[in-house]
């Protein structure tokens, strides 16, 4: 970052103006031991749980264990300069991060400090990172869709605003790709996105940020990054920090989408902290409250009603609901979903998108296993036209899987079975989608309608995607008005369906694919 001389003197001037020189009365303690970022402190008798404490050298920590004669704390950041006997002060504040629209387009660490080299974040507000989720009365059921732009997700496992949909799968199955595509597709959808990267390689995070920038998604996205090299404390805190940034929009009657990539790493960071704090280990050496760290986080993703928003904003925003949709990511080892953390998060969320290595390697990308992927509340929120047209996809794929296993042994099949197999094969092919290429509602509707009405039946399987993209191009240029109509109404009302069918027939006549 380049600073001019006048900027420097202005900065110093404003800081000098705001500097207060009053005597401070604070509770103090002394450091007894420092072990891997965990500090034991004697004294600090009035410290609160989760309070920020100040170490020498402008370093801060978080008091986690309040014991009879000592306090266990984690250092947020570097701890090499802290030594035994150092004085520690209470700050009387619970850990806070900056919030607000100023953060949009920025990459910040778990404490909300910018790490993208674009200068300071001039956020006007800060908010606590640990907050209690909205209660029963403040909530409203999920009824508006989040369009991910992925055919397979939007048709089979629809996500609603305020829902928590888990993305689960082994390494290298495209979990991040699904989440990033969902963020990219939020352009113009009045949705602020937060991408929380936990324990990932810094290069991977940089790649994601670059891809978001290339696709114009950083204009509405905040990235909270706690890389693998950051301290375990920061990796543990990053999701809560990101959640607080997302809640800012939820509470003001706006919609936000947050991706936690991934919560397995957060649990591992928390396990490290807990073991160093000498909390008793349980299953897989996780502490007893590993369920609670995820449940209290994901519970904050919610849709809140008009009254809550009105009350929260002091009457400034009326008649608007707010939502925070969460897409937590969990990485499994060798497809083992019955491990501790995956089962926990599966039980907390409102459904899961299951990604499988076998499917991924077979070229089915996104590698969604349609059989075990579910959305428990998204159906109520699904876009009308997609709901109408996408209903058959799940069934066709389920029947296909059953028959495919059976057909391996039978050499000659009757006409009906063969047709069903062909149809299933076609749907499997159609559900494939390139990365960073989310589809609009109208394009998705056209594809699904064409598939349902059998216009794909005479298309060779290998050419299904080529046919689809040619169809989209054709419709976008020749039948733009019709497509715009579907896009805005999100429905195929009246004779629109007939018009679309006629258009598809028109396209097939051109034989352009």
């Amino acid at each position: 970052m380049q600073l001019s001389t006048s900027e420097i003197s202005e900065l110093i001037k404003s800081r000098l103006e705001n500097f207060s020189t009053s005597a401070e009365a604070r509770t103090q303690g002394t450091v007894i031991s420092v072990t891997d970022g965990i500090v034991r402190i004697h004294g600090l008798s009035n410290v609160m749980a989760g309070e920020m404490i100040e170490f020498p050298g402008n370093t801060f920590g978080l008091a986690l264990n309040l014991e009879r004669d000592s306090v266990g704390a984690v250092v947020l950041g570097d701890y090499e300069h802290i030594t035994e006997g150092d004085v520690v002060k209470c700050t009387g504040r619970i850990l806070e991060v900056p919030v607000g629209p100023e953060l949009i387009g920025r990459v910040v660490n778990a404490l909300g400090q910018p790490i993208d080299g674009k200068g300071p974040v001039n956020a006007k507000m800060t908010d606590k990172i640990e907050k209690v989720a909205p209660g029963v009365i403040a909530r409203k059921s999920v009824s508006q869709p989040v369009q991910t732009g992925l055919k397979s997700v939007d048709s089979m496992v629809p996500v609603g605003r305020g829902q928590r949909e888990l993305i689960i799968g082994d390494r290298q199955t495209g979990k991040t790709a699904v989440a990033v595509d969902a963020i990219i597709n939020q352009k113009g959808q009045n949705m602020t996105c937060v991408y929380v990267a936990i324990g990932q390689k810094a290069s991977t995070i940089a790649n994601v940020v670059r891809k978001l920038e290339e696709n114009g998604a950083m204009a509405y996205t905040i990235v909270v990054a706690a890389a693998a090299s950051d301290s375990a404390a920061l990796q543990f805190l990053a999701p809560y920090a990101g959640c607080t940034m997302g809640e800012y929009f939820r509470d003001r009657g706006e919609d936000a989408l947050i991706v936690y990539d991934d919560l397995t790493k957060q649990a591992i960071a928390y396990r490290q902290i807990s073991l160093l704090l000498r909390r008793p280990p349980g299953r897989e050496a996780y502490p007893g409250d590993v369920f609670y760290i995820h449940s209290r986080l994901l519970e904050r993703a919610a849709r809140v009603n008009e009254d809550y928003v009105e009350k929260f904003t002091g009457g400034k925003v009326k008649g608007k609901t707010g939502s925070l949709t969460a897409l937590p990511v969990i990485e499994t080892a060798a497809g083992d979903v019955s491990a501790f953390v995956p089962t926990n998060v599966i039980s907390i969320t409102d459904g899961q998108i299951f990604l499988e290595t076998d499917l991924f390697n077979a070229g089915i990308r996104p590698a969604i296993n349609a059989g075990i992927s579910v959305s428990r509340v998204g159906g109520a929120a699904q876009t009308k036209v997609i709901k109408k047209l996408g209903g058959g996809v799940r069934l066709a794929l389920a029947q296909y899987r059953e028959l495919a296993a059976f057909a391996q042994f039978a050499s000659d099949l009757d006409e009906a079975t063969r047709k069903q197999l062909d149809r299933g094969r076609m749907f499997t092919e159609l559900m494939k989608q390139a990365q960073y290429a989310p589809l609009s509602i109208s394009n998705m509707a056209i594809s699904l309608l064409a598939a349902n009405k059998g216009y794909f039946d005479d298309v060779p399987t290998a050419k299904v995607l080529a046919f689809e993209s040619a169809l989209h191009g054709f419709m976008g240029s020749k039948y733009k008005a019709l497509m715009d109509g579907i896009e805005s109404s999100k429905d195929l009302a009246g004779d629109a369906e007939k018009a679309v069918e006629a258009a598809i027939q028109d396209f097939k006549a051109t034989n352009a694919y």
Binding site: R15, Q28, H42, R68, D69, K89
Partner: protein
């Protein structure tokens, strides 16, 4: 160390309760203070830490050094501590006992650190203000530390009221470099 104060607490509480029952808190305070001084003596330290000395010898020697300064109860406390190998926590026991006693009497110990020696009226005024703030009687000790450059720093238990120039300069440095 935190563990030491945890170990010391039950002993201190027991001594405090016994002293209170016997209405002899001051006597106990004197006895514990004396025993701590004995235990902190370098020659005695070497003797205590000598692995060749058995517990019964140590008990006899220690009590002989203390002479008639300890009553029967205090002697029993020393014997018990030696038997359990806890003589090293004696200073912590004394500290904890004094804290309990001060709490009972409603007094607070305040350590006033100043860059230059404050006048008697200044100290008196400070003590008055501290008493008003904490709602307890304050016993002040004054120490001089030129390191704080100017102003004063008051330490009352875990609470520190820092109005020193050093602290303010440090805060200014942080706010400029933040």
């Amino acid at each position: 160390m935190a563990e030491i104060s945890t170990i010391a607490r039950p002993y201190a509480v027991a001594a405090y309760k016994l002293g209170k029952e016997q209405k002899a808190l001051t006597k106990w305070s004197e006895m514990l203070g004396f025993a701590t001084q004995v235990a902190n003596d370098t020659q005695m330290q070497a003797y205590i830490q000598d692995p060749n000395v058995v517990a019964s010898d140590l008990q006899a020697t220690f009590l002989k050094v203390c002479g008639n300064k300890l009553n029967e109860n205090a002697q029993n406390l020393i014997k018990l501590l030696i038997e359990y190998g806890r003589l090293s926590v004696l200073p912590a026991i004394t500290d904890a006992f004094e804290a309990l006693k001060a709490q009972d009497e409603g007094t607070l110990e305040a350590n006033i650190i100043a860059a230059s020696k404050p006048s008697a009226t200044e100290v008196k005024d400070l003590v008055k203000r501290l008493e008003a703030k904490f709602g307890k009687k304050v016993e002040a000790t004054v120490s001089i530390d030129p390191e704080i450059i100017g102003g004063i720093k008051i330490i009352v238990g875990d609470t520190v009221i820092d109005a020193s120039v050093k602290n303010q300069l440090q805060n200014l440095a942080y706010s400029l470099t933040a």
